[in-house]
C-alpha cells in the first residue's frame, strides 16, 4: 500500500511540475499580448485627446455628443482605428470634462493632477484571480492653461486576449504536455536501468544481507560462549547421529 502511495505521489508531483511549466509559458504569452494591448490603448487615447482638443477649441459652448462622434469618424475613422486592436477593441470611449469631475458628477479614477490613479476601484476589475481591465487616460487642453479641459478615458478588457492565447496555442500546449510526459518516462527508464546494474553485482537484497550478517554475529557469539565446554566421545557421537537423523 505504502509502495503504491509513494509511486502515486511521485507521478502527481511530476504531472504538477509539467503543468506548472506549461502554465508559465501560457503566462508569458499572455503578458506579451497584454503589453501590446497597453501600448495600443495608450496610443489610441492620445489620438482621441488630440482630436478632442481640435473639436472643443471651436465648439466649447455648442457641444453635442452626436456632433463630436461624427467629427471623430470624419477625421480619423474611429471604426478602422479600433479594428487595429484586433480581438479586443475598446468598447467605450469616454470624454469627461474637468468641470464635471470637479463637481463630483463622475468617478473618472484620476489623481488630483489628472493622471490615472492605479489604485482606484473603477480602474480595476478582478476576475479569474487577475485584473482584467486596462484603462488608458489622456488629458486634453484647449488653451495654454495648466489644467486640462477634460480627459479621454479608454477601457479595454484583457479576457479576449486570454481566450485568444488559449485558442491559438491550445494544441501546442497539449503536444508540449505529451512530449514532456514522454521525456519524464524516458528519464524514469534511464534511472531504473542504473538501479538494475547495481543489483546485478549480487543476488541478495541489501536488507537480506544485513539480516544474515546479524545472524552470523549471533552464531559467532554463541560458539564463543560455548567453546570451553568439553564433551565426551559418546556425547559427540550422539550429536552427530542426531544431526544425521534431522537430515
Amino acid at each position: 500500500m505504502m509502495y503504491f502511495l509513494k509511486r502515486f505521489s511521485v507521478i502527481a508531483l511530476i504531472q504538477l511540475l509539467i503543468l506548472s511549466l506549461i502554465f508559465l509559458l501560457f503566462l508569458f504569452n499572455f503578458n506579451q499580448r497584454r503589453e501590446v494591448n497597453k501600448v495600443q490603448t495608450k496610443g489610441f487615447a492620445s489620438i482621441i485627446a488630440e482630436q478632442a482638443t481640435n473639436y472643443f477649441k471651436d465648439n466649447q459652448f455648442n457641444y453635442s455628443s452626436n456632433d463630436f462622434f461624427e467629427y471623430l469618424d470624419n477625421r480619423i475613422g474611429v471604426q478602422k482605428l479600433t479594428n487595429a486592436f484586433g480581438i479586443n477593441p475598446p468598447e467605450v470611449l469616454t470624454i469627461y470634462f474637468r468641470s464635471d469631475i470637479e463637481k463630483g458628477l463622475v468617478n473618472a479614477g484620476i489623481n488630483s493632477d489628472f493622471t490615472k490613479d492605479d489604485t482606484a476601484e473603477v480602474n480595476r476589475k478582478i476576475k479569474y484571480f487577475f485584473n482584467n481591465k486596462y484603462v488608458a487616460m489622456k488629458p486634453f487642453f484647449i488653451s495654454s492653461d495648466k489644467t486640462p479641459f477634460g480627459i479621454v478615458r479608454i477601457e479595454t478588457s484583457t479576457i479576449p486576449i486570454l481566450t485568444d492565447v488559449l485558442a491559438n496555442n491550445g494544441i501546442f500546449y497539449l503536444f508540449l504536455y505529451l512530449i514532456l510526459n514522454n521525456q519524464a518516462f524516458l528519464f524514469y527508464l534511464w534511472v531504473r536501468k542504473k538501479r538494475d546494474d547495481v543489483l546485478e553485482k549480487g543476488y541478495l537484497k541489501r536488507s537480506s544481507l544485513g539480516a544474515i550478517k546479524i545472524m552470523h554475529k549471533l552464531l559467532e557469539d554463541i560458539i564463543h560462549d560455548h567453546k570451553d565446554e568439553k564433551y565426551s566421545d559418546d556425547e559427540n557421537k550422539a550429536n552427530i547421529i542426531n544431526l544425521d537423523d534431522k537430515k
Binding site: S65, N66, F68, F69, V92, F97, L105, N107, L166
Partner: protein
Amino acid sequence: MKFFLICIFSFSVLVSCDSFKAKSSISFYGPILETINEEGAIEYVGRIVNKSSEKVKNVTLHYVAKDNQDNIVEAITYDINSTEGNHLSANEIVKFKFSIRSNSDDTFNKEFVLKHD
C-alpha cells in the same frame, strides 16, 4: 486503443478552443462614445451594424451598470430601429443615442449586450 483515445482528446481540445471565437450577425460598429450631457446625466452615442446577408429583426441593446460589489445599479433595454422599421437590413448601419439616470459615481462596470430574434 491509446492512440485512438489521444486522437479523440486532441480533437475535442481543438473544437473547444475554436468555440472561444464569438459568432454574431450584429455588432457595434466602432466604439461607443460616453459623455456627460447638459443635465449632468451619462449619455451614450454609437452605431450598430448588421454583418450578415439577411434581415435581422427586433434588435435590442441591453445596458447594465454595476457598482463595485457587482450589484446592478441600472439596467436599460433600448430598441434599435432603422428608418424602415424594427429590423436591420443586410450590412445596414444604424445610430443610437440614450442617456441613463444613475449617477456615474456609483458605476464601476458597464456592459453592452446586443440581442435579436
